[in-house]
């Protein structure tokens, strides 16, 4: 029973990471209907930046904050420079540009930081909290960080004028432009926020999966699955989807199929959701007029 509880708790911890990544994907999907294949590599790159800062002697939480800001800036820059020229191009061109971005970020990370696997520090103590056996401090801390992040985002979008403007720009760009919202910049902000969220996810998962240029490919796959399970245009759904996928992954991995086929779980989830219920649990069913 105790191992079962531990599997569930560990599932919630990684689920939080998937939830954050899925949320980042949904933020970009909602405003532009693009699926950002480079989201994982962005997070990986940000994690390397924080690793560099920590190795240079900066304290963990200062490095954490700096990384979030740097990732935000990187996201904004990428949107303004690389994505904007193809915003209205055919789907193939956009997918190709995203793949190009993925490859470039991956190779730069490999070039600068080499492909050797590195350990990434956890800010939380080694010994389990409050003498509990079924949870490690990092898991608890990672769950806590995820929840704080989600609350902050919820507050930002619900209660600030900027958040309202961003939601408006995503929902109806033309009318938003008419009332004076700078839609282009709102999209760039969305990219920045998505990259920042991704960087938090990267820093929370890096102590578990270790740091290397390909560390996020599996995580991104689970994030896709999470976003689709919850509904790719629903932020709340994506978060819930992240936790569902995280728990499912751990329990299936521990009891049913073993760890070797974990990625295939995500693949099967993605294909099943896409073919049977493409809108996910909470997504809007899209009816196109012909």
């Amino acid at each position: 029973m105790e191992t079962f509880i531990h599997q569930v708790v560990a599932g919630i911890a990684t689920g939080g990471v998937y939830a954050s990544m899925a949320l980042a994907l949904v933020m970009i999907y909602q405003s532009t209907h693009h699926i950002n294949f480079a989201q994982g590599e962005l997070a990986m790159f940000a994690t390397y930046m924080s690793w560099t800062l920590i190795n240079a002697g900066v304290s963990y939480w200062l490095a954490f904050t700096c990384t979030i800001l740097l990732a935000f800036a990187l996201g904004v820059l990428i949107q303004r420079i690389i994505i904007r020229p193809v915003e209205n191009a055919p789907v193939l061109n956009i997918v190709v540009v995203f793949i190009g971005l993925l490859v470039i970020l991956n190779s730069i990370a490999g070039w600068v930081f080499t492909y050797t696997i590195k350990a990434f520090p956890s800010p939380f103590p080694k010994e389990p909290p409050f003498g509990l056996h079924f949870i490690s401090s990092h898991e608890l801390g990672s769950i806590g960080v995820t929840f704080v992040l989600l609350l902050l985002l919820f507050g930002f979008f619900k209660f600030t004028p900027l958040g309202l403007a961003m939601r408006a720009a995503a929902q109806n760009p033309d009318s938003s432009r008419l009332v004076g919202i700078r839609v282009g910049w709102m999209l760039a902000l969305g990219w920045g926020l998505a990259a920042a969220i991704g960087s938090v996810a990267g820093m929370m998962i890096a102590p578990v999966v270790f740091l290397d240029p390909n560390m996020m490919s599996g995580i991104l796959l689970y994030a896709f699955a999470a976003a689709l399970v919850g509904g790719i245009d629903s932020p709340g759904g994506a978060v819930l989807g992240g936790f569902i996928v995280g728990i499912l992954e751990n329990i299936l991995g521990a009891y049913v199929i073993g760890t070797e086929l974990k990625l295939s779980v995500a693949l099967v989830l993605i294909i099943v959701v896409l073919t049977i219920k493409p809108a996910g649990l909470f997504g809007k069913v899209i009816v196109s007029r012909v």
């Binding site: 294949f37 793949i99 599996g218 693949l267 294909i271 896409l274 493409p278």
Partner: protein, 329 residues
């Protein structure tokens, strides 16, 4: 797009094609064995890219997971040669048939997916593929992490028209023959009824359906045929390399194919050849700078081509050709 293409094809004089083929036949006697091997790899990539062209360029379905069909083709050949002692040339039609069926079946759920979603599902397939190939309950067939080592076939004759033949040269000619066959098949498909139907579905799905084109059938068929081409390429590459292993079929292999297709030209058969040359030879040059450099170049080229030359090298040649030719009255 289609009318441009057909005029382009017609304008290519047959004489160039024959000269090109003769050149391709003569070439292996003047270069080292390693370069012959590289050229054979170019030909296999070209076959795979024709398959990708049919799917993405002509039928408009995006696949980021064609490495999977390359793997299925390669493993079919390797398993048949290793476990059933089948001669290498017999495994190619079997690999083609297996991939045709698997591709067609994969195309059925893919019918419900469009654009980004199909890209996503196939991307997931590409990422999960090495794990599937390592699956321990299939290890008796696939050899697990170690993969399968197969015997490199020897040349059946010592000499050909008085010229010395060795294993590499022989395999090159074999690959060249298969490539010519596959290109002829591809060309006939594209300029015929099937090609027209696919282009119609890509450009105006509703109009195509209302004109009596069986949209689901043709789309799944495009998937199957495309998988078949890629499977043949996989089978040939397994014979050439004489080795298959899960870690040669990562997501980056699928991205490599994507790179070749974009750079060669998305809706062009000659483009498949240009793309294949690019993905075979550019990394060799860039590798000398850093292990990561080829990918940095690939990525940059992908983005630059999408901005400046979405029709690829084939489109550029076509444009130059049109500029040089006197305009028709």
């Amino acid at each position: 797009m289609s009318s441009n293409l057909s005029s382009h094809e017609k304008a290519t004089p047959w004489i160039w094609l024959v000269l090109g083929l003769l050149g391709a036949c003569a070439l292996p006697f003047f270069i080292s064995n390693y370069h012959v091997f590289q050229l054979s790899m170019v030909l296999t990539y070209a076959i795979a890219l024709v398959g990708l062209n049919i799917l993405i360029g002509y039928s408009g379905q995006i696949s980021l997971g064609h490495g999977a069909f390359l793997a299925i083709g390669a493993y079919t050949t390797a398993i048949l040669m290793d476990k059933a002692d089948m001669p290498y040339w017999m495994t190619i039609p079997i690999a083609a048939a297996v991939c045709l069926v698997v591709g067609f079946l994969f195309g059925l759920p893919a019918l419900r997916l469009e654009g980004h979603y199909l890209a996503l599902a196939t991307f997931a397939l590409a990422v999960a593929l090495p794990q599937l190939l390592k699956f321990k309950h299939l290890e008796f067939l696939t050899g697990g992490v170690q993969g399968i080592v197969i015997m490199k076939p020897e040349a059946p004759w010592e000499t050909l028209f008085g010229l010395k033949l060795n294993a590499d040269r022989w395999l090159y000619f074999f690959t060249l023959a298969v490539t010519v066959v596959m290109f002829v098949i591809g060309w006939n498909l594209i300029r015929g009824r099937v090609g027209r139907a696919l282009i119609a579905i890509r450009d105006q799905p509703i109009a195509a359906a209302s004109m009596g084109i069986d949209t689901p059938l043709y789309k799944s068929l495009a998937f199957g045929v495309s998988a078949m081409f890629t499977g043949v390429a996989g089978a040939l590459s397994a014979i050439l390399v004489a080795f298959v292993a899960p870690d040669s079929f990562t997501v980056f292999l699928s991205i490599t194919l994507m790179v070749g297709m974009v750079i060669g030209g998305v809706t062009s058969l000659p483009g498949a050849l240009y793309g294949a040359l690019f993905i075979q030879f550019i990394p060799n040059i860039a590798d000398q700078i850093s292990k990561a450099a080829p990918w940095a170049i690939y990525g940059t080229m992908l983005i630059l081509f999408m901005y400046a030359m979405p029709t690829g090298i084939a489109g550029l040649f076509h444009l130059i050709g049109r500029k040089l030719r006197p305009t028709h009255p």
